[in-house]
């Protein structure tokens, strides 16, 4: 559909205002006015109703405030109720500032977006001024030629009386208004070119990803390691602060960790016998889980040499390591728990000491497991002679 319009150009805003009033009084239909600034009083002269964007503003503001109210209560009282200084979960007064900010933000952004939407403003939109100078010091009054009875001559006469400097008739396509198709073709061409370029970049990246072999040995590059590397000395690194130049220092002789008991023995057979006389297994054999723990410890630390059943046929022994005696039938069936504890702790001949690997509890627990392999499967308390 095409529309015929009459465009009159004015130089003074006062002329424009009077012309608008006269045109309306004569009953002709004003399509639009184009102006370089918001002419004071023009909307009253045109008789346009106030825009409804203020309702959009109110709705967005209310929505923003309601959302922030709900969100703060939900996060602080429902999703993760965290006690902050004994304040109640629902600290409404403390939520007020953010409710307010949410309201202002939503109302402001919402209204402006709504303006862009209804006024069809968008980035990159191409516009030609309807008449030259309309962005500078000219005003254009657009009158729609509604039907055949429209008397262009009479209208022009009236406008000229109001100091219109130029009057022109134009035919407009449907709703194109002043938005010329000027940028259309050029725009789509450059867009297509951009698309090809991006496609090319994608192909090159994919090809490079497939063709360039990945070096698995190289560690990944670090970006902002976030304190992953401590400037402190690691236990193995050299350290100039100690006389021996090592970071890891042996504890002072005779130091005991908290909860640890003193073992006043040397790694000798005599002391092993002594330990057999003095030490008691602190773990009650009937306690739930203790024997199971013992089995796990045995499985992990002893089977390589002693074999799963304690017969001295572990894989290490089968490959030529001096085979340990059977724990099921050998001397150990007659040794008191304390003596086994000494052997496990300090080692004996080819049996390496386990103190560094196992806690005292685990050592006692594994003894219970050894006993369950033996017949009779009972602990041998201290004071029993082998």
């Amino acid at each position: 559909m095409t529309r015929r319009v009459l465009i009159a150009v004015f130089q003074q805003d006062s002329d424009l205002l009077r012309a608008v009033a006269a045109v309306r009084a004569a009953g002709w239909k004003i399509d639009d006015v184009y102006a370089p600034y918001a002419v004071h009083g023009l909307d009253r002269a045109l008789g346009w109703r106030p825009s409804r964007l203020s309702w959009v503003c109110a709705a967005c503001g209310l929505a923003g405030a309601a959302f922030m109210l709900w969100f703060q209560q939900w996060t602080s009282a429902v999703s993760w109720p965290l006690n902050v200084g004994g304040k109640p979960w629902n600290s409404l007064p403390a939520f007020v500032p953010i409710i307010f900010e949410g309201m202002v933000l939503a109302a402001g952004l919402g209204t402006v977006l709504a303006l862009f939407l209804v006024a069809r403003l968008r980035p990159g939109k191409k516009t030609l001024p309807i008449v030259p100078g309309v962005f500078d010091d000219r005003f254009a009054l657009v009158i729609e030629e509604t039907d055949a009875t429209f008397d262009a001559a009479a209208v022009s006469e009236l406008l000229r009386n109001h100091h219109a400097v130029e009057i022109e008739e134009r035919v407009w396509e449907a709703d194109s208004c002043s938005t010329g198709a000027a940028g259309g073709a050029a725009g789509s061409r450059s867009r297509r070119r951009l698309n090809y370029l991006l496609l090319l970049v994608l192909i090159v990246l994919v090809a490079a990803n497939m063709l360039v072999p990945r070096n698995q040995a190289q560690p990944n590059r670090e970006f902002l390691p976030d304190m992953a590397h401590s400037p402190a000395y690691t236990s193995e690194s050299a350290n100039p602060n100690f006389a021996d130049g090592e970071t890891l220092q042996p504890p002072v002789l005779g130091t005991l960790a908290q909860g640890q008991r003193r073992l006043p023995y040397a790694a000798t057979d005599a002391d092993a016998l002594l330990a057999g006389q003095e030490l008691h297994n602190p773990l009650p054999a009937g306690q739930a889980g203790v024997r199971e723990r013992g089995a796990v410890v045995f499985q992990n630390f002893c089977t390589p040499c002693h074999g799963g059943g304690g017969l001295g046929d572990g894989p290490v022994a089968l490959r030529g390591y001096p085979a340990p005696p059977s724990l099921v039938t050998g001397n150990s069936t007659k040794m008191p728990d304390g003596q086994l504890f000494h052997i496990i702790t300090y080692g004996r001949a080819n049996m390496p000491p386990q103190a560094g690997l196992l806690s005292p509890e685990d050592r006692w627990a594994v003894i219970l497991h050894i006993r369950s392999l033996q017949t009779p499967n009972t602990s041998i308390p201290a004071g029993t002679k082998p």
């Binding site: 006062s14 009033a21 309306r24 639009d32 184009y34 102006a35 370089p36 600034y37 918001a38 002419v39 004071h40 909307d43 009253r44 002269a45 045109l46 825009s51 964007l53 203020s54 503003c57 969100f71 996060t75 602080s76 999703s79 993760w80 965290l82 902050v84 200084g85 304040k87 600290s91 403390a94 939520f95 500032p97 953010i98 307010f100 900010e101 949410g102 202002v104 933000l105 109302a107 402001g108 209204t111 402006v112 303006l115 209804v118 006024a119 403003l121 968008r122 980035p123 990159g124 939109k125 516009t127 001024p129 309807i130 100078g133 309309v134 962005f135 500078d136 010091d137 208004c177 938005t179």
Partner: protein, 459 residues
Amino acid sequence: MAEARLASPPPLVAGDKSPADVTREICAPMERRPSGLWWSAFLVSASVLALGVAAVAYEISTGIGTWGLNRTVGWAFDITNFVFWIGIGHAGTLISAILLLFRQKWRTSVNRSAEAMTIFAVVCAGLFPLIHMGRPWMAYWVVPYPNYRGPLWINFRSALMWDVFAISTYLAISLVFWYVGLIPDLATASTRGKPGWRRRLLGFFSLGWDGSYRTWHRYELVYLLLAGLATPLVLSVHTVVSFDFATAVLPGWHTTVLPPYFVAGAIFSGMAMVLTLMLIARKVMHLEDYITHRHIDPMCKLTLLTGSMVGLAYLVEFFTALYSGNEYEQFGASNRLWGPYGWCYWLMIGCNVAAPQLLWFRWVRRRLPLVLVIVILVNVGMWFERFVIIVVSLHRDFLPSSWTMYVPTSVEIAILAGSFGLFFTCFLLFCRFLPMIAIGEVKGVLGHGQTDCAEVTIP
């Protein structure tokens, strides 16, 4: 009639300009090559900015230990600068929004640059808490988003969290306000000058503005609505900033006068900064006809008003300390005056309370170099005010064994200088590439002060 003409004030824009003159003269700095003065100013501020960037890079790669902070004074230059810049950012919205609501027509010549100044100041301010974090790439942790830590949400009961929301909302709304105001002028500028990337870019951001009155009609309403929203917002922002201090129990921070005191101080420092920039820009950019005594004079009066409010707030603080009967409060107050940082306090009083009193005299307000000196003093004084509030309150708290002094390191001073570099670099680029006076709005007030010929009777 003749008497009426004599009594009416001189026009807002001098030189009897037509709308076409306005377009041409305001767009001129964007179209001609920048002057030598502009280049030298730009080079100086860009180098200071580079210094600041280097200092920040060094600080981030090495750690916050490069600053002079200690266990007692955990906030010093960083937060001082933050509050200082945020305060400066308040004048733009005051001029654009509050004065719009009060129908002060003189705002039209200064609002655009004041808004730009606001945005740059808020950006400068926002950088300080960010670099104060030490690991700024974790800054997104201040945003409430669903996460795999629980989801563990941010603590909405914390004043610092309110700050995050207030500052980011303020930045967003100021940007939108500024941009919406720019759209018609971008359209105007994009039809002028040599064709090329500059015009294409201006055209892209003018959103296809065609001057249709259907759009103007809605636009005016939206602009008014934004002003209505920005007015309580601008008052809330510095209130929330003051909560950072007022909700703590430290003597010197823990008072109810802090929010109004901060807001007055913010507008005071902002007006001083706008005046500083305008007095320089009108000379450098040759805008003497657009920024006249009709603009400078009310701004001076606003500076005087808010400066006196700030002076009153200082008095109220002392009264509170005295009247509270609390020995810690009283010690805090006397430590401000006579403590080791006493000189900062007296400098602040001299610059913020005494100097602006000269603006009572019309003779002074007419002497622009004198005004420039006064407002620069105010800028200095307002920086020291924040330093006094933060460092002087912190350095001697309840526990005398932890009393200590704070001395800034060169890194901190370089970062402060760098923020000024950033501010002025942005402002100079703005003067060069965007219309620094609202063309459309100035055209609307050209007739103001003469006969109101636009009045017509509507049938």
